[in-house]
């Protein structure tokens, strides 16, 4: 990946002038939920929320886009869209992730094997599309890149499907930070493995990579109403998590976690070596931890009324590992669980935050919470229930208070999905000199 000339020049100036130089090592966790290899956490007030939005036919240019929203309350443009970068196609934009040095965001869509790389280091308030990686299908046969997980000098990408039968059999693709393919790792289909993939998360202290399982293109691109009525289709959802030897990148054991485990969060607290996940179809929280050296998964809590299929989607863990936000899509509810005892989480708060809610992110101090609306283009609700937004809230430990809202439909931006936080202070040298 080329370094902008202005950046090179500025670095030259910095080194020549002998300005104070301080090393920073990779931190243990990002704003509570990202790869532990991502450096430079934003521990104060974030300036931006980057929203990766799905294009909607007839809305704006109809393409997927990265939208930058000003979220600094001291700013004159607080709560306003600063800019958006269209990728020129509509490919079911879904998730994104920072590179380890936090200079770039990798993002992609579930309908295509493409990955978009945005430079956020040169001007954090104005991301720029600098590269499109289009060889994932050729190199791996995988389709639908989902999770982008920073590793030192490289990015591990969990896919959801494959180009051959567009089912749930899939794997992970490893790229170096320049966007060159390095290796692929299929999800296990033996030892109880179902071959499905969804999220991945690393615990470096234990040399463990944990993966979860969803479903393939043939399900997630169909209307949700059709899928739930199709008994055969409903059998094609993941029911497992896999514990990998991270160093060797080999599966060690398959854990039975029925009901489609999605997002995985290791506790960011030093000394905590457990992870938590939510199962979408059975509406449960599951804890993954060691017992006498053996990794085990166990159900520890119920989310809402599973009979009503609230569909827990995103989760966000607090920096101390003591609390967990859970968004349930169908009832538009944001719930807070006390995780003081991860073996027995207790729901202590809930609030309807939209007619449909999906992703949830929080600031490092937990005082600001951001929520978006879209799950998948064909799974979002219809009519008046199809709200599309980014909503910001303040959290005082007892109550979520609305702070701002960006109406993504009114702004002709599309369906608001994944979020990442940004800061002016993470500007590369080129623009601070």
């Amino acid at each position: 990946m080329l370094m902008p000339h202005r950046f090179r020049n500025a670095i030259a100036l910095v080194l020549t002038c002998g300005i104070l130089a301080v090393a920073a090592v990779a931190a243990r966790a990002d704003e509570t939920c990202n790869s532990p290899y991502v450096t430079k956490l934003i521990k104060g007030q974030e300036d931006y929320v980057y929203v990766w939005a799905l294009g909607v036919d007839g809305l704006g240019d109809g393409s997927d886009k990265l939208v930058t929203v000003d979220v600094n309350p001291k700013s004159k443009t607080y709560g306003k869209v600063l800019n958006s970068v269209s990728v020129g196609t509509r490919g079911e934009a879904h998730h994104m992730g920072f590179t380890d040095d936090r200079r770039f965001i990798w993002a992609g869509g579930l309908a295509e094997p493409k990955i978009y790389v945005f430079d956020i280091g040169t001007d954090p308030g104005k991301p720029k599309l600098v590269k499109t990686i289009g060889d994932m299908a050729d190199k791996t046969g995988y389709l639908g890149p989902h999770t982008y997980y920073a590793m030192p000098g490289r990015m591990l990408v969990q896919a959801l499907s494959n180009t051959q039968d567009k089912g749930g059999r899939t794997g992970m693709a490893l790229y170096n930070n320049a966007g060159e393919f390095v290796a692929s790792y299929p999800m296990p289909t033996d030892g109880g493995g179902d071959g499905y993939g969804y999220d991945l998360a690393v615990n470096p202290r234990k040399n463990v990579l944990l993966t979860s399982s969803f479903t393939g293109y043939d399900n997630y691109m169909r209307p949700l109403g059709e899928v739930v009525k199709d008994q055969e289709a409903m059998k094609r959802f993941g029911n497992t998590m896999v514990v990998w030897d991270l160093k060797a990148m080999k599966p060690k054991m398959v854990l039975a976690v029925p009901g489609t485990p999605l997002e995985i969060r290791w506790s960011p607290k030093q000394g905590d070596d457990w992870a938590i996940t939510a199962t979408a179809l059975t509406s449960k929280l599951w804890l993954v931890k060691q017992n006498k050296g053996e990794w085990q998964a166990k159900e520890v809590a119920t989310i809402g009324d599973p009979a009503k299929i609230p569909l827990p989607v995103d989760i966000s863990i607090t920096r101390d590992g003591k609390g967990l936000w859970v968004n349930t899509f169908m009832d538009g509810t944001t719930r807070y669980f006390d995780l003081s005892n991860p073996e027995a989480p207790k729901e202590t708060y809930q609030k309807v935050t939209g007619k449909q809610v999906n992703m949830i992110s929080q600031s490092w101090d937990g005082r600001r919470v951001y929520i978006t609306s879209s799950l998948l283009a064909n799974w979002d609700k219809g009519g008046a229930d199809n709200e599309q937004f980014l909503r910001g809230f303040r959290w005082n430990g007892k109550e979520l208070t609305p702070a701002f809202e960006v109406d993504f439909a009114k702004e002709k931006l599309g369906r608001a999905h994944h979020m990442k936080l940004g800061s002016k202070s993470l500007r590369s040298a080129s623009t601070t000199q």
Partner: protein, 197 residues
């Protein structure tokens, strides 16, 4: 030295992928003579790390130095490894880390021995930048607001690179994985790979 909180997989039981080709460029040795970095990233297995001599963060350059010391000692004591490995410490502060500064920094470590340990710098940022870019070693100019008054910092992610004799980067260690045991296992894995050919 801290040990990893896990038992790493035994050497030879896993594959180290070819992550990228190590970049080449002009560097200065302790004698001040310009040389190609490529001369120090081929033929032997190379453990390469960027440092600057004024770095004081205990989890940064000093930590890397400790690991290099331990790896150097262990490799020198292993007959099967000592003729196959070298260490390279390269400064990314050419303005202050001149060859004479690097000589003082190296001390007795740069003395000739069975396991070479090269201390290199560059003539200028212009010559350094392509190397940093090629390795993907970032430097970021940041403002730290956590202490109240803004404080400008030049920050970098700690990375150490394991390079095979053909010049390919085969592992990149950040602080979480930078332990002598893991580096030594990886060196042995590359040696076993070479023998199997």
């Amino acid at each position: 030295m801290p040990a990893p909180g896990f038992v790493p997989p035994p050497p030879g039981t896993y594959t180290l992928e070819r992550i990228m080709a190590a970049p080449d460029g002009e560097v200065l040795g302790l004698d001040g003579r310009p040389q190609r970095l490529g001369a120090f990233t081929h033929e032997r297995i190379t453990v390469l790390g960027f440092i600057y001599t004024t770095c004081v963060d205990p989890d940064g350059c000093p930590r890397a130095y400790q690991v290099f010391d331990a790896v150097h000692e262990a490799v020198a004591a292993a007959p099967a490894l000592r003729q196959r490995v070298r260490l390279v410490t390269l400064s990314f502060d050419p303005a202050r880390d001149t060859p004479s500064t690097m000589r003082r920094y190296a001390g007795s470590r740069s003395r000739p021995g069975p396991v070479p340990w090269l201390f290199l710098t560059t003539r200028s940022a212009r010559e350094l930048m392509p190397l940093l870019e090629g390795f993907g070693q970032d430097i970021r100019y940041t403002t730290d607001r956590s202490s109240g008054a803004p404080r400008r910092e030049l920050a970098h992610v700690l990375k150490v690179f394991l390079i095979d004799p053909a010049g390919f980067v085969r592992e990149i260690y950040s602080s979480e994985f930078l332990y002598p045991r893991t580096v030594l296992n990886d060196i042995e894995t590359l040696v076993l790979e070479e023998r199997a050919r």
